[in-house]
């Protein structure tokens, strides 16, 4: 394994947060999540996602991207500001047009039908490998669940899926894999940046390097135990 030089994984795993960021309404999509897919399409690495993450994203997207406040408060403000002479009638009209567009876009983009369409499109993307939970993954979920590790059932399923997938990828010839993981529960460090020992070891044993974003920066050093 390369040491002291810049390396990138040739296989990358992602989870629900990535799916959500890719199928978000257009104006809220994460550029780096989209770029990751484009980089996979350009052949930089292979991209994998557990199928259960697509199912979770279907529920998450409408909840996460519903505006914190509808435009009603802003409409009331503009009405008041126009009446008080703080904005001109033309400015108020322009604002109302923007609110109408925004409300229309939100109502349209966050419907279950629209979200499902975008998910189906993503699932069929030629550069994304969607894999189902296999029997060994379900078995691993049980064994990890017995460890002293507090994870929600869904996170446990994702963890088991990426661990077993990483083992499979190594059998296919990959030295190690990257895992872009934005969910702090599945990151192998705690809020102070210190190692979560059990989780760290689980990833380390199957040569998964966890990234906290979708940028997939070069790494200059890999764990020593991966050199053999």
């Amino acid at each position: 394994m390369e040491q002291g030089c810049k390396v990138k994984p040739k296989a990358v795993l992602v989870e629900t947060n990535w799916v959500v960021d890719v199928i978000a309404p257009a104006y809220l999509q994460s550029p780096q999540a989209i770029q990751l897919l484009e980089r996979a399409q350009a052949g930089e690495f292979k991209l994998y996602v557990p199928a259960i993450c697509l199912a979770e994203a279907r529920e998450t997207v409408p909840r996460r991207f519903s505006p914190r406040s509808r435009s009603d408060d802003l409409r009331k403000f503009i009405k008041w500001a126009r009446d008080e002479g703080r904005v001109t009638p033309d400015e108020a009209d322009a604002a109302y047009q923007v609110f109408a567009q925004f409300d229309g876009l939100v109502a349209n983009e966050l419907t279950k039908v629209k979200v499902s369409e975008r998910l189906d499109e993503l699932a069929k993307h030629p550069s994304l490998n969607v894999f189902p939970l296999s029997e060994p993954m379900l078995e691993r979920q049980v064994s990890i669940g017995a460890m002293d590790i507090s994870l929600k059932p869904f996170d446990l399923a994702v963890l088991a899926a990426v661990i077993v997938k990483s083992e499979e990828l190594q059998q296919e010839g990959y030295d190690w894999v990257g895992f872009c993981e934005l969910d702090s529960d599945l990151q192998p460090w705690d809020k102070s940046g210190a190692r979560k020992r059990i989780l760290y070891d689980l990833y380390d044993d199957v040569r998964i390097l966890v990234y906290a974003d979708f940028l997939l920066e070069d790494v200059s050093e890999l764990p020593e135990s991966w050199t053999t």
Binding site: N17, S30, P31, Q32, R64, L182, D183, S184, P188, W189, D190, K191, S192, G193, A194, R195, A212, D213, L215, E217, E221
Partner: protein, 156 residues
């Protein structure tokens, strides 16, 4: 092209959205602060975060993206203030002996304390004005975390 680096401290919403990102430098050295501001701007644009703080020694610089333009072109420095050392809690024990990481830990604990107490009572007026409602309200709804593993920085 500038490399996007992992922020030192992040404040995220319950949905994982980046609310504030923080770049920490142990010392207030002109060139290093300038680089930190450019680095923070780049990271803010890359990860889609509209509020950033640079903490360099006893200096806090507040950056905001008005989102009027793409690629971070609308990020501007809102202002800066002094962060007196007496306001900083002690660092997490595990980082003792590594001054840069210790300082990061102190800044993180300061933000956590600010979130918990929601009080700027003993703050100098310039710092109170700088942080004002916008930073405080984001701290209230978010969780303060390390931007990534600190052990890897120690190992380097």
């Amino acid at each position: 092209m500038m490399k996007t680096s992992q922020p030192d401290i992040i404040v995220t919403s319950p949905d994982g959205e980046y609310l504030i990102i923080v770049e920490v430098k142990l010392k207030d050295i002109s060139i290093s602060v300038k680089n930190a501001i450019e680095q923070l701007k780049h990271t803010m644009a890359s990860i889609g975060c509209s509020v950033g703080l640079v903490v360099a020694g006893d200096r806090v610089i507040f950056l905001r993206d008005s989102l009027e333009k793409y690629n971070g072109e609308s990020i501007y420095v809102v202002g800066e203030a002094k962060l007196p050392h007496y306001l900083l809690p002690s660092a997490d024990e595990q980082w003792k002996g590594n001054p840069a990481i210790e300082f990061e830990s102190q800044v993180q604990r300061w933000l956590e304390k600010l979130k918990l107490t929601a009080s700027m009572e003993n703050f100098p007026s310039d710092l109170r004005n700088l942080l004002s409602e916008s930073i405080m309200s984001l701290l209230q709804i978010g969780e303060v975390r390390a931007g990534g593993p600190r052990w890897s920085k120690v190992a380097r």
